[in-house]
């Protein structure tokens, strides 16, 4: 069994192809959007009344680029922090079954730092165009575009506080991640249970910290795009989406590594547990999604239903609304239901990428309608930018895999993981 991941030039070349392909597709997409530009600038009825008075109906082609940048930034950063959360809960619960595979989620966490920097940069470029509430005039009572509702949220939604939260969360998450990495490396060098106990403490604090900050981050980064609207389920909803994507990615990378001669000790029982995670949290996501939908649908209060009206009464978003449910609920639910499908890589290799793509669609649906209203779409630009981000993301995490041995040989519970049997 190979102990250190070999990030060879062949792999790098493939990632480069992915990157170049993504750039080309994005450019084609951009070219199309610029040329078709102002033909459908009209704002739909529902959205028009909703947004009346803000004087911000001017759609430019770069809005679509910005909204896509923001989707990808949030999606990949979320997967990365959720992978770190996965490591943390394994230490908190003192799990043995996962001891042998923890290096994979740790490597996915490597995206946290570049992802955070990207997030700050993208926010600096796109702020007014993605976050409607950042406009100064909304808070100016003398301006005709003054917005009573948004002004009421001023104590929370203002730039210094927002940026402060963003930097604080990202910084603290990275601090916890760096601490976890440090002690994991120390455990490799020194052995014993001291590092493991330290990791238990760090992870416990991190899990509690993450539980609060993740919700707030979800309100800030995703919910505040639809500034007038709010949902108390939203933190959980974003969490479920990030978390199940991270689980699917962890499972998928482990399977691919296993096929290539790494982590050969990962047996069917470990795969079964990972598959159960993906299955269970797909259902959990659906539960959260439906709880949010059903209450809003049943109560039928206009300022709440507007969120779903934008998505259901739209030719652009309605198909994705259905696709979202099929990819993230019906497909994993029926496909991963049997025991065999979770124990054999053949099935998981299909299910994990589908779930990952499904949750990209989910974030697309959360973010795009709020920014682009009726000017959105799904074409070359969306796919292209996803590939660009994916290639950068894969490069960082595969590079991260080489930095530590693939197996934590001094993990006190490694033996349990090697003989995991359910």
């Amino acid at each position: 069994m190979k102990e250190i991941f070999d990030f060879n030039s062949n792999l790098k070349k493939n990632i480069l192809y992915l990157f170049v392909g993504g750039v080309i597709l994005s450019l084609i997409g951009l070219y199309q959007i610029i040329n078709s530009g102002h033909s459908h600038e009209e704002v739909s009825q529902a959205v028009g009344t909703y947004n009346s008075g803000d004087g911000h109906s001017g759609y430019h082609w770069y809005h679509r680029l910005y909204s896509n940048l923001w989707i990808n930034v949030v999606y990949f950063l979320g997967i990365s922090i959720s992978a770190i959360f996965f490591v943390a809960i394994q230490y908190v619960s003192q799990s043995g079954w996962s001891a042998g595979i923890l290096r994979v989620p740790l490597a996915i966490g490597r995206w946290l730092l570049p992802g955070s920097i990207l997030m700050l940069i993208v926010f600096a470029i796109t702020n007014h165009d993605v976050f409607h509430w950042t406009h100064e005039y909304l808070y100016d009572k003398l301006d005709p575009r003054y917005d009573y509702v948004i002004d009421g949220k001023k104590a929370y939604l203002n730039l210094p506080f927002f940026l402060g939260r963003m930097v604080f969360f990202l910084g603290m998450w990275y601090l916890f991640y760096a601490l976890i990495l440090k002690h994991v490396a120390r455990e490799d060098k020194l052995g014993g249970t001291e590092s493991w106990q330290k990791l238990f403490t760090i992870s416990t604090v991190f899990v509690v910290f993450y539980a609060f900050t993740q919700s707030v981050a979800a309100w800030d980064w995703v919910l505040s795009i639809d500034t007038h609207w709010f949902s108390t389920m939203f933190g959980w909803y974003v969490f479920a989406s990030w978390w199940v994507s991270a689980l699917a990615l962890i499972t998928y990378i482990i399977i691919i590594l296993r096929d290539n001669g790494y982590l050969t000790f990962v047996n069917h029982s470990v795969l079964h547990d990972l598959g159960k995670y993906v299955f269970a949290f797909s259902v959990f996501w659906t539960y959260i999604w439906f709880s949010q939908f059903l209450l809003i649908y049943y109560a039928n209060i206009p300022e709440e239903t507007i969120y779903f009206v934008e998505r259901l009464d739209s030719d652009i978003y309605f198909p994705f609304f259905i696709v979202n449910l099929i990819l993230n609920f019906f497909f994993p639910f029926l496909f991963l239901m049997t025991r065999a499908s979770k124990r054999f890589t053949r099935f998981l290799k299909i299910a994990c990428p589908v779930v990952l793509f499904g949750h990209f669609i989910d974030f697309y649906l959360m973010i795009t309608p709020g920014i682009l209203k009726s000017n959105g779409g799904f074409g070359f630009l969306e796919i292209g930018l996803l590939l660009v981000f994916l290639s950068a993301f894969l490069f960082v995490i595969l590079k991260g895999l080489t930095k530590l041995p693939l197996v934590a040989k001094n993990h006190p519970m490694l033996d349990e993981s090697l003989h995991h049997d359910i």
């Binding site: 439906f290 939908f293 059903l294 049943y298 039928n300 239901m337 049997d421």
Partner: protein
């Protein structure tokens, strides 16, 4: 005992580790084990005995699906076909509203169906008394039953084999199964 039925040799084991090793060595000697009874689930015993996977999950799925259909039929029949009413400004067929009840019925029937199937399959039906080789298998002893007619080896040899594998007791038993 002059009951009618098949002849069995019954080995009593005190400990599940001894039992697991005993199963392997008894099978190595070419003896077919009729069944093993234990008071609690023993990890890995189904692989040692070469059990096929239980089909209980298929029964659970079927019962669950039945529950789903029943719930939808009931609600659509009542709320849409038999007596349509406008409630909360919704359609006559408000599917999102039906989903919680559908979910509950699916879970209820799949759980009841699974437990019922399990009881019937494991001979725990309310009518009749389940047959046990040794009542102590419901308390603290593991019981391995070997059918004589199923094996070519004579009973004395089987008894010595069972004794060497760590059985605390080896008995004869005639059971009408």
């Amino acid at each position: 005992m002059d009951e009618k039925g098949k002849k069995f040799i019954v080995g009593i084991y005190e400990d599940e580790d001894i039992l697991l090793n005993a199963i392997s060595s008894v099978k190595d000697k070419g003896i077919n084990i009729y069944e093993v009874y234990s008071p609690f689930p023993v990890h890995g015993i189904e692989n040692k005995l070469g059990y096929k996977r239980s089909r209980l999950s298929i029964a659970a799925f079927c019962f669950g699906f039945l529950g789903l259909c029943l719930a939808l039929t009931m609600m659509i029949g009542m709320m849409t076909i038999d007596w349509p009413m406008i409630i909360g400004g919704k359609d006559f067929l408000p599917l999102p509203v039906f989903i919680p009840v559908t979910f509950e019925m699916t879970v209820l029937l799949s759980a009841f169906g699974m437990v019922g199937t399990f009881f019937v399959v494991s001979d725990l039906k309310p009518w009749g008394i389940p047959k046990t080789f040794d009542l102590r298998s419901t308390d603290d002893k593991h019981v391995m039953a070997i059918e004589l007619g199923d094996n070519k080896i004579d009973s004395k040899k089987i008894k010595t084999i069972l004794n060497t594998t760590g059985a605390s007791e080896v008995n004869d038993k005639v059971m009408d199964l």
